[in-house]
């Protein structure tokens, strides 16, 4: 009797989760497949044309100046953004964790931007890093003469020709990195603070007794113990920067010569402003592939670590 009831309860449980499974199956997996299908079609007009185009849309993108610029910008944005968030988050977490009295104040000052929209961040930083006002006025007061052009710079540092673009560090992108680091440092700060609090004092004490210097304790004890957190932050921030859209759309747009363009903005504009649906779908599929490359192994390892 007891068993029979248990069995029917098991079916009831499956029945309750079934709607979510179906919804995710359709809205995530079927929709992605449909986007993939569109990306191989000729639908580059307002009215749908789903005739087969082969790899044409992908070939177009790989040779496209704007797409190549966007990939270059995303690469350097990702590198500087991740490095900035890790560095700032770790330093601030370490200092906040050093028994200071105003911990509450500092923690909240560094965390509150996380609660803001990227659109708000973009609108404000657009003015702060505008070459003729904002931060440059402060630099002027301090007596600097050569102030940066921030996001209006078209300079590509350390560049060499590659494909149809100049490959190198797009200086304008660094302005966007500053805004993004300002907003997202709170994430790594919160993660590292939780991590540092999880390291028992005895571990550090034991290392100190063994004659390790403060620097050695960091290198041999604290860094290795924080490694899983660092990996999580890198992956979460990395997948975010591959998808970035709203911050750039609100702050700079694609910029002169596409110096601040990214695939997310390109996809939006080419699909919904110019009706190149098949091209847009191809950009979306490339973005998905890039995200999947880092997220799928992460999710599988998280899955395995649990069982």
């Amino acid at each position: 009797m007891q068993n029979k009831k248990f069995l029917s309860d098991r079916w009831l449980a499956i029945l309750f989760i079934l709607p979510s499974i179906i919804v995710i199956a359709v809205f995530v997996y079927v929709f992605i497949s449909w986007t993939g299908y569109v990306s191989f079609s000729n639908w580059n007009t307002l009215t749908p044309d789903l005739s087969f185009a082969g790899l044409q849309n992908y070939m177009f993108l790989f040779n496209d100046y704007r797409f190549q610029s966007g990939m270059r910008n995303t690469l350097f944005f990702t590198i500087f953004f991740i490095f900035g968030v890790l560095f700032m988050g770790f330093i601030l977490a370490t200092f906040i964790d050093s028994n200071i009295k105003q911990e509450w104040f500092f923690r909240n000052v560094f965390l509150f931007p996380m609660a803001l929209s990227f659109v708000v961040t973009g609108v404000v930083w657009q003015w702060l890093l505008n070459p003729s006002t904002g931060v440059n006025l402060l630099f002027g007061m301090l007596g600097f003469e050569n102030v940066p052009n921030w996001y209006t710079s078209t300079h590509i540092a350390f560049s060499f020709p590659l494909g149809s673009i100049e490959f190198g560090i797009p200086v304008a992108m660094l302005a966007v990195v500053i805004a993004a680091v300002w907003q997202m440092t709170g994430f790594s700060l919160a993660m590292y603070l939780a991590g540092l609090r999880g390291i028992p004092d005895e571990v550090k004490e034991a290392a100190r007794m063994d004659g390790a210097s403060e620097f050695q304790i960091y290198r041999k004890v604290i860094f290795p113990m924080l490694m899983p957190i660092t990996i999580s932050v890198v992956i979460i921030m990395g997948h975010m920067s591959l998808k970035i859209f709203d911050l750039i759309y609100a702050m700079t747009g694609s910029g002169a010569n596409f110096v601040t363009d990214v695939p997310g903005v390109y996809m939006f504009e080419t699909t919904f402003r110019a009706n190149f649906f098949a091209n847009g779908a191809a950009i979306a599929m490339i973005m998905l592939a890039l995200v999947a490359v880092i997220m799928v192994p992460y999710l599988i390892s998280a899955r395995k670590g649990e069982s």
């Binding site: 499956i14 028994n99 006025l137």
Partner: protein, 274 residues
């Protein structure tokens, strides 16, 4: 790290204060600019305090943004509640009623929160047009509930993992079934889980832009789209833009100020391993 020497203490404080100034700088500019009268708004006087406090920028921004502010409230409240309820039920099943393959189903659901939404936008718009929900608030609610399922399921599943199995077993021996265990044991224990999930969803949906800008046009646009239009417009003075940005940010800022602890918990839960 324990700092003993006064010199390093001084260095730590100096660094923290400089960083605080950097982090608060945008808020300072937003507040002082939004309070300036129109004739004091000049590019070269950005950092100067207003000579008199004026609310004309707020009045103008409010007039422009109020309808969109309401749209976002109509969107955020139902979307938050619905996605939290789905997440709670899913989390309950996936933590306490595991079945063969349920862990893989969980991973497949979870993947949905990391995809770039560009990869589902084209079919989503075709779908919403077919069912007549394109350019409507209910259409946006649907989208946010669907793509909210992964994160809410994740947070509740981790939350329920800490409910002791013995409690469930005992209830089962007393004859309680799937639903009565949920209603009598799990749900009453979930209050803080619901607080974390609702704050997280509220903040995310309020701040969201990509779905908002592609699925709605004039009339049903949420606040962030209206703010972006306001700042993109050449004729709008930037004290109005700053006032608009502050108005648009106010609800999530207030949530952070009053229940920031729960917001941070949601933040940490989003990193999968919780």
């Amino acid at each position: 790290m324990v700092i003993k020497s006064p010199l390093s203490k001084l260095l730590v404080y100096t660094f923290l204060i400089i960083m605080s100034l950097f982090f608060l700088m945008p808020i300072y500019v937003m507040i002082i600019t939004s309070l300036k009268p129109i004739d004091e708004v000049s590019l070269t006087q950005m950092w100067a305090l207003p000579s008199t406090v004026s609310f004309e920028a707020y009045a103008f921004a409010f007039e422009r943004l109020a309808p969109n502010f309401l749209n976002t409230i109509y969107l955020v409240v139902p979307a938050t509640i619905l996605s939290a309820l789905f997440g709670s039920l899913n989390g309950y099943v996936l933590s306490k009623w595991k079945f063969k393959g349920s862990d893989w189903i969980f991973t497949a659901i979870l993947f949905g929160m990391f995809i770039p939404y560009q990869s589902i936008l084209i079919p989503m718009i075709q779908f919403l047009q077919t069912v007549g929900l394109y350019n409507t608030i209910p259409g946006l609610i649907l989208v946010h509930v669907v793509y909210g399922i992964p994160i809410t399921t994740l947070i509740f599943r981790n939350f329920y993992a800490s409910v002791p199995v013995d409690l469930i077993e005992a209830a089962r021996i007393d004859g309680a079934g799937f639903l009565s265990i949920y209603l009598k044991i799990i749900f009453p224990l979930s209050i803080s889980g619901f607080v974390v999930v609702c704050i997280w969803q509220f903040t995310n949906i309020w701040n969201e832009f990509l779905f908002a800008v592609t699925i709605t046009s004039t009339g049903s646009q949420p606040i962030m789209v209206a703010l972006q239009n306001l700042s993109g417009s050449q004729i709008v003075q930037w004290n109005v833009q700053m006032a608009g940005a502050l108005l648009a940010a106010l609800p999530t800022l207030l949530v952070y100020i009053f229940v920031g602890k729960y917001f941070v918990r949601g933040l940490l839960a989003g990193s999968v391993k919780g």
